[in-house]
């Protein structure tokens, strides 16, 4: 092609140049992921990758801080000083997880205020499990054991996900979650070995939290929309159904060990599969809660909105004060 010809078709050439450049950026990006190298905030990434990560990381961050509420419900009523301290520390850990995850999300070019806005308006989701009420002390055991337990199964694979800041946040988070799980199991063990009232309390909590915990691992593969893309980006390593099976296989022997009964009459070991078979999950209930009609959806969201709105004057004060101090420093310097 002569120079003249290029000039004549200038716009077209620029457009295809740009397409070419994007293609090569995309190739570099994909090769990087294939080589198991991390994508860092400064690296080019496809818009869809950025958006998907904002959605997933923020959803995770929101789950951590909404998740503080059901357990926070029992801090003032914890049955002993030792348990009170442990529960306070646990709920505080969840706040810390929220903090790491919001920070990781902010590296994708969105602010914490925007993320909160999405949560408060219902645009962003959080884990549906936190829309169930905590009605007894045993729920603190069941949540640690089952909910933190299911969270770990979901999250351990994310420690090697492709987006660097997310992967690093998950390494810290997972360490603490497994501590939470052990602590929850220890609460349950103590109750299961306690008086008849305590044992009944533990069994009742298991009955209420078992099925929602299974749902926490996500819809069945047939109904899960994001799986293929997520596998490629290492946001997922196993399918929801595989993770659920792993959770069940891991948890059933633990229940047996402390003499509690999993509330599923169809649950039995399948020698051929090398896994437990289990009963049908009530997916109608799952979608009901996801859509906002769980027992505590309204309370959880309004608790978050209240904390944020009532805290506004405090945040404003901190900002105004910091600005005044900055001004004073400047004046001194002059």
């Amino acid at each position: 092609m002569s120079k003249k010809e290029i000039k004549n078709t200038g716009t077209e050439a620029t457009r295809s140049d740009r397409a070419e450049a994007t293609r090569s950026l995309e190739e570099i990006f994909e090769q990087r992921i294939a080589r198991d190298e991390k994508i860092e905030p400064k690296n080019w990434m496809p818009e869809k990758y950025r958006k998907t990560h904002i959605r997933q990381i923020s959803q995770h961050a929101h789950s951590e801080i909404v998740g503080m509420l059901p357990e926070g419900n029992w801090i003032t009523r914890a049955p002993s000083l030792r348990r009170k301290v442990a529960l306070l520390a646990k709920v505080q850990d969840e706040a810390g997880h929220g903090l790491y995850l919001y920070s990781a999300c902010e590296t994708l070019g969105i602010t914490r205020e925007e993320l909160y806005e999405q949560l408060h308006t219902g645009k962003a989701k959080y884990s549906s499990i936190f829309n169930y009420p905590t009605t007894t002390w045993a729920d603190m055991g069941a949540i640690g054991w089952l909910v933190d337990g299911a969270a770990i199964i979901n999250q351990v694979p994310l420690c090697s996900t492709s987006y660097g800041p997310y992967a690093r946040a998950m390494i810290r988070v997972c360490k603490e979650e497994s501590f939470h799980q052990r602590q929850g199991f220890e609460i349950m063990t103590k109750l299961a070995q306690g008086t008849p009232e305590q044992k009944a309390m533990a069994q009742d909590a298991l009955n209420r939290w078992w099925w929602p915990s299974l749902m926490m691992l996500g819809p069945t593969d047939a109904e899960s929309v994001h799986t293929e893309q997520s596998m490629k980006w290492k946001l997922k390593r196993k399918t929801n159904d595989e993770l659920r099976q792993q959770f069940i296989d891991q948890t059933v022997p633990q229940a047996d060990l402390i003499g509690l009964t999993i509330p599923d009459p169809d649950l039995k070991w399948n020698d051929e599969r090398g896994h437990y078979d289990f009963g049908a999950i009530n997916w109608d209930e799952f979608w009901q809660v996801v859509k906002g009609h769980g027992p505590c959806n309204k309370e959880r969201l309004s608790a978050r909105v209240n904390a944020w709105e009532e805290g506004e004057w405090v945040r404003d004060a901190a900002m105004a004060y910091a600005e005044k101090q900055e001004d004073k420093k400047l004046k001194k310097a002059i």
Binding site: I65, G72, T76, P79, L99, A307, A318, M319, Y321
Partner: protein
């Protein structure tokens, strides 16, 4: 000094931490942002840590198979010896931080004296506590300054809290009969001697925060004698719920 006197003396100190820690723990998950939520929970955790040391010691002194939990959870309201200040509710963040600040300044002065106690356990608890409480005081003082010298609204709100809670500060320096016995035997602190340093320190921070020091000369008292405000019963209802509903069980 009789063990029973030491136990009573310990209640006089530890109940403040217990009730303030309980108040702070109500806020976990509801702070104005994650950073302050975490920081307030930290203070609550420190206080509960101190409480456990005090009550484990008191339980040992009592000698009748009592545990730290019996002392923390199973007394009647009249037997809790905390000052009225610490049981005041979390009306808003300005109240929370003012209550904290008013207590922290006292708490640090108290522990600095308590570390000179002739009782080795109390000395050790005080020494460990000083580090924590120095941080608490820094945290609450900084917030008083931020709120006082922040926006007009925050200034107004924190001034309201200072004006309201001021009347509870004087009780911190009242000497009870147990205090007197403890001071005489060398294990306790003469809190009446902390007053001047207290109001000086509080005054400095309020001034830097552009807040007005209340002039009221009317003060409330009673907590040290176990005569509490109407708020106390509800706080105890939460605190004691499990131990009262399910007596004699292990958790």
């Amino acid at each position: 000094m009789k063990n029973e006197n030491i136990i009573q003396y310990i209640y006089g100190i530890a109940d403040n931490a217990l009730i303030l820690g309980q108040r702070l723990s109500e806020l976990c998950g509801h702070g104005p942002n994650l950073e302050t939520d975490i920081a307030l929970t930290n203070i609550s955790l420190d206080l509960f840590g101190q409480i456990r040391s005090y009550f484990q010691y008191a339980a040992k002194l009592s000698g009748d198979k009592k545990t730290e939990d019996d002392l923390a959870f199973l007394r009647i309201e009249r037997e809790y010896k905390n000052v009225l200040l610490v049981e005041q509710p979390n009306r808003h963040f300005g109240y929370v931080l003012t209550r904290q600040f008013f207590y922290d300044v006292f708490h640090l002065l108290l522990l600095q004296e308590l570390q000179k106690s002739t009782d080795e356990t109390l000395t050790a608890i005080a020494k460990k506590g000083i580090k924590e409480v120095s941080y608490h005081q820094r945290f609450s003082s900084d917030w008083i300054k931020r709120l006082g010298d922040g926006t007009e609204e925050s200034h107004h709100k924190v001034q309201e809290a200072v004006d309201d809670l001021w009347k509870f500060t004087d009780e911190l320096f009242h000497m009870t009969e147990d205090d007197r016995v403890a001071v005489e035997s060398g294990i306790g602190v003469d809190v009446s001697k902390l007053k001047e340093r207290y109001y000086k320190r509080v005054g400095e921070v309020l001034e830097e925060a552009t807040l007005t020091i209340p002039e009221t000369k009317w003060f409330q008292k009673g907590g040290k004698q176990g005569i509490h405000s109407e708020h106390m019963g509800y706080l105890l209802a939460d605190l004691q719920y499990m131990q009262r509903t399910y007596p004699n069980m292990e958790w």
